[in-house]
């Protein structure tokens, strides 16, 4: 059976972001049906589809919706997480830029499913273009009666507010996102209580990723069974993978979950650039443990295969590194990022990320000691599982995996008193 794209089906159309284009392709066609359905039935459908959150954690979406208190008289909020900031990830941005109506339709249907009357889209501050596209699309949708009061005569109301962030990675963490919408400093909240019980403005709240919601109209239209027919048993459906780094054609590619990683890299992204050898791949955004070239040959792109390989599907940000990459440098860049983005609340993350980043800079600059490698490993251990949010783990996981899988390179740096790679790598250029 030929692969039928779900998320990117309109991407290549002329004026794909316009309402007319979206409607011509059948867009908003399922909305009337969805609004006529009982919210519970929609939740059941999404549950049955096996759709998992595409933001990184992969939590089953229908189950998440099910955590909302039943029969509450408080307002329920849906927050669309469009803060996409995980290094290596740029899929939500393209959805919003190329097919914003798909996200809006998904948001309206999902809001009805969870009885939300006011949804917020929290969009990353740097996404100026995506923000404009989404705003224009929202205006179009509102004028067409897809958003607002009594949508399509169904009696369902939904207001959507777009909230532009100010450029903090941590605001992609769902509770930091809520704090930010509330006008506070973006810092994760201590849990419990979880947002489904106490979320935005103290009300029950669901936070879903852009890509997750974008898949909802298709699921409602074609049914959970059709969605389950794609992908693997535990990872149904398709996913957008953002391929970056040393490939011939970096970009977003939608493939069925379960596709071999090398197929994505070689067939879709055109293989490693310049015919060079693959060295390593970070499979799901910079926070996921790195895979060696050998491991890459064995894994498929689904939650279970990558987890079995000791890493995660994450956000689908596939960072490809060729043989010319200095792994110390690459890791140093990643850890600099987390040190810069740690909100500073929890001790292990605040102090650990900075400490690790400093040691790595030293090693790369040729001032490292062998004992530093053990310090790094133990600091990584101490940073894991001890904080309010997963940023600390996000910094520790790549650190641990780089150290284990490329230890020789770190030792080489210490022995030689500097970086053994003579040529400036792509990452080096980025850093300069």
């Amino acid at each position: 059976m030929a692969f039928e794209p779900i998320l990117t089906r309109n991407f290549t159309k002329r004026d794909s972001h316009r309402l007319a284009t979206y409607e011509a392709g059948g867009g908003y066609g399922v909305l009337r049906k969805a609004l006529a359905m009982a919210p519970e039935a929609l939740v059941e459908e999404v549950k049955a589809s096996g759709l998992r959150g595409r933001g990184g954690a992969g939590f089953p979406t229908g189950m998440k919706w099910g955590f909302l208190p039943k029969g509450t008289d408080r307002a329920i909020y849906l927050c669309v997480n469009a803060d996409e900031s995980e290094p290596g990830t740029f899929k939500d941005r393209e959805i919003m830029e190329r097919d914003p109506h798909m996200l809006i339709e998904g948001t309206v249907i999902s809001s009805h499913a969870i009885r939300c009357r006011h949804a917020y889209v929290y969009i990353r501050g740097e996404f100026e273009f995506a923000h404009r596209r989404l705003r224009e699309a929202l205006d179009e949708a509102r004028r067409a009666g897809y958003v607002g009061k009594n949508i399509l005569g169904s009696g369902v109301d939904l207001e959507i507010t777009i909230h532009l962030g100010a450029g903090a990675y941590i605001c992609g963490e769902e509770t930091a996102l809520l704090e930010s919408i509330e006008g506070k400093k973006g810092q994760p909240r201590l849990k419990p209580p979880f947002p489904a019980i106490v979320g935005l403005f103290g009300c029950p709240t669901i936070v879903n990723n852009v890509e997750t919601l974008a898949a909802v109209p298709w699921i409602v239209e074609r049914g959970a069974k059709a969605y389950r027919a794609i992908g693997t048993e535990k990872s149904p459906g398709t996913k957008l993978f953002s391929v970056s780094g040393h490939v011939e054609r970096p970009g977003n590619y939608e493939v069925a979950l379960g596709t071999p990683m090398m197929e994505l890299i070689e067939k879709h992204a055109g293989g490693v650039r310049g015919g060079r050898r693959l060295k390593a791949v970070i499979p799901g955004g910079s926070s996921t443990p790195v895979l060696t070239a050998e491991e890459c040959a064995r894994v498929t792109l689904d939650y279970e295969s990558l987890q079995a390989a000791g890493t995660f599907l994450g956000s689908g940000g596939v960072i490809v590194m060729d043989e010319g990459t200095c792994m110390v440098w690459a890791l140093s860049i990643i850890e600099d990022f987390y040190a810069h983005e740690s909100c500073g609340q929890c001790t292990p993350c605040r102090e650990g990320t900075g400490w690790v980043a400093r040691i790595l800079r030293n090693i790369e600059a040729g001032h490292g000691k062998m004992s530093d490698l053990d310090v790094l490993a133990s600091v990584a251990r101490n940073m894991m599982g001890t904080t309010i949010c997963p940023l600390s783990d996000a910094a520790a996981m790549p650190l641990e995996s780089f150290l284990v899988k490329f230890r020789g390179e770190f030792e080489e740096h210490v022995r030689r008193g500097g970086c053994p790679l003579a040529g400036r790598s792509f990452l080096e250029a980025v850093r300069a």
Binding site: H340, S342, G344, T347, P348, E351, T353, W355, S371
Partner: protein, 536 residues
């Protein structure tokens, strides 16, 4: 209510009872189990950011912060497993990564959580050989508080205190990651009337008191439980003293009165013990004299005055024992006029601690039947007016000054050298609350005990002692010997003669104080015959 439900949980294998929903850190502390923590404070919202109070809970794969774990039935908590200890060591190491470790010059040394926990739970060799992150030092936050951001562990207690307790947004944490620092909001100053509390709750040497720092190493301090005399609230305090001098005041926890807090004026109120005192005597034309000389002068004036020409003004600032002594003393002059009160203008009352009534013992005057009559005395002053403690001239302005100028002999017995003292014929120094054992009755009728922290300064003596001496000198009998006129002796009469104090024993006043109205009900019901009570 489910709040009061008592449950059983297991603490390191032992079963303990606790109120359901109670914070696990508090439950542990109540049962003598130390759960180290920086950010948790029972009076503040839980933020769970320091990650120090990790405990292991059976059935949960990851360590949990005890501060966000309400007590519930059957919870199996372990606070001393290897996993917990390792996590605590790790957090301490992280906290010290960028900490200057300048304990020898840090004012917090000796009462620092970091120092204490390092000795208890840390003790590893430093693995940081790199330069530390440098941040601002000696940051002037406000009139009372100085900040060293390098020593700060970013627990946010101070931020939460200002925001949630004092109700003003003055402090926040700016920047992110290891560049985070406490600071004031742009254009703001840490100057809320409770700002000093942030120094107390700061677990490390980041926030220090401008008033106290570098004055005295804390291990030299002796601490005496006391009560703030600044207003009718009667906040419980620790008087920290060294070399017979108060070095600082700190709030003493009393959930029923002041919780964990103290206002800034109360905090600095100790200065009145050492500044502006009348420590000997005062005589018109001579100025300050020895106590003996003034005593003789006062005795002489009292000896020749006709009782009907004498008036006494008792003060709501006096301890209950002193007020009672005044009452007894005045009673020796049949026909003399007795009043009690003050001309001091009321204070700003807020919802937190400060009361409009700026006296610690107005209620004392009331239960002794001494309250009132001040206006009448000022309207038609007697020839000999004996004022206890009150600064009628200073507080009452021109009108009071003019009135008191008409008094033939104005005598003051008080702690301070006030405008009233300076206008008096004779005055005699009295010991302050810090130099005495005694009691105040606060605004809600709570009898609270304070203890003697200092030896009386100069020639100042307790008022009951002075009045016993004066009575003896005049050939009268007040009911107790001048020395020692400790409160125990005086209290026998005080409790017997004062209906509100019936059945109350000085030595048995509980630490949290005694609500006299409630105590009376309790005593009454305990003493009442059982028949005739209860239902059918």
């Amino acid at each position: 209510m489910s709040e009061t439900k008592t449950i059983t949980l297991f603490l390191n294998g032992a079963d303990v009872r606790a109120r359901e929903g109670r914070n696990l850190v508090d439950v542990c502390e109540e049962h003598g189990v130390d759960v180290p923590h920086f950010c948790y404070h029972p009076g503040l919202k839980v933020e769970g950011n320091c990650r120090m109070c990790m405990v292991e809970i059976e059935g949960m794969p990851k360590l949990q912060v005890a501060c966000n774990m309400p007590a519930r039935e059957g919870l199996k908590v372990h606070t001393n497993t290897e996993k917990v200890k390792e996590a605590q060591r790790a957090v301490l190491e992280f906290l010290l990564v960028n900490h200057p470790i300048d304990c020898p010059i840090c004012d917090q040394a000796g009462e620092c959580y970091l120092q204490d926990y390092y000795m208890l739970h840390g003790k590893y060799r430093s693995r940081l050989e790199d330069e530390k992150v440098h941040k601002p030092k000696v940051v002037d936050l406000g009139p009372l508080v100085v900040l060293d951001t390098e020593r700060c562990v970013l627990c946010s207690r101070c931020v939460r205190f200002c925001r949630d307790v004092a109700g003003v947004e003055e402090l926040y944490i700016k920047n992110r990651g290891d560049h985070s620092e406490i600071t004031t909001f742009p254009g703001r100053v840490l100057e809320n009337p409770y700002s000093g509390n942030v120094v107390d709750i700061c677990p490390v040497g980041a926030l220090t008191s401008k008033d106290f720092r570098f004055k005295c190493r804390v291990w030299y301090l002796k601490s005496t439980p006391s009560v703030c005399p600044g207003c009718a609230r009667g906040c419980n305090t620790h008087v920290d003293h060294h070399a017979n001098e108060i070095q600082r005041l700190r709030p003493r926890e009393n959930a029923a009165v002041n919780a964990w807090w103290l206002c800034d004026e109360g905090r600095l109120g100790y200065r009145s013990v050492h500044e502006g005192r009348l420590l000997g005597g005062w005589l018109r034309g001579k100025g300050e004299t020895g106590a003996r000389e003034a005593f003789e002068e006062i005795a002489g004036l009292l000896a020749v005055a006709a009782a009907s020409e004498v008036g006494f003004v008792a003060s709501p600032d006096l301890p209950l024992e002193a007020q009672f002594a005044v009452k007894r003393f005045a009673a020796l002059f049949a026909g003399a006029r007795v009043a009690g009160g003050s001309l001091r203008p009321p204070w700003i009352e807020d919802g937190l601690l400060r009361k409009a009534d700026r006296h610690p013992n107005t209620k004392g005057l009331e239960i002794l039947g001494l309250a009132g009559g001040l206006d009448a005395i000022l309207e038609r002053p007697p020839r000999l007016l004996v004022v206890f403690e009150e600064d009628l001239v200073g507080d009452g302005g021109e009108r009071a000054r003019a009135t008191l100028a008409r008094v033939e002999s104005l005598v003051v017995l008080g702690t301070r050298r006030t405008a009233t003292v300076e206008g008096a014929r004779a005055a005699l120094g009295v010991a302050t609350y810090a130099e005495l054992d005694g009691t105040f009755v606060n605004f809600e009728g709570r009898l609270q005990r304070f203890r003697r922290a200092l030896n009386p300064l100069g020639e100042a003596r307790a008022l009951p002692e002075i009045l016993a001496d004066l009575a003896a000198r005049l050939g009268k009998e007040i009911g107790w010997r001048p020395t020692p006129a400790g409160p125990e002796v005086l209290w026998r009469d005080l409790a017997r003669e004062t209906p509100a104090l019936e059945g109350v024993h000085f030595a048995e006043i509980p630490a949290e104080g005694l609500r006299l109205d409630l105590a009376r009900e309790a005593i009454a019901s305990a003493g009442a015959p059982t028949e005739g009570r209860g239902g059918p």
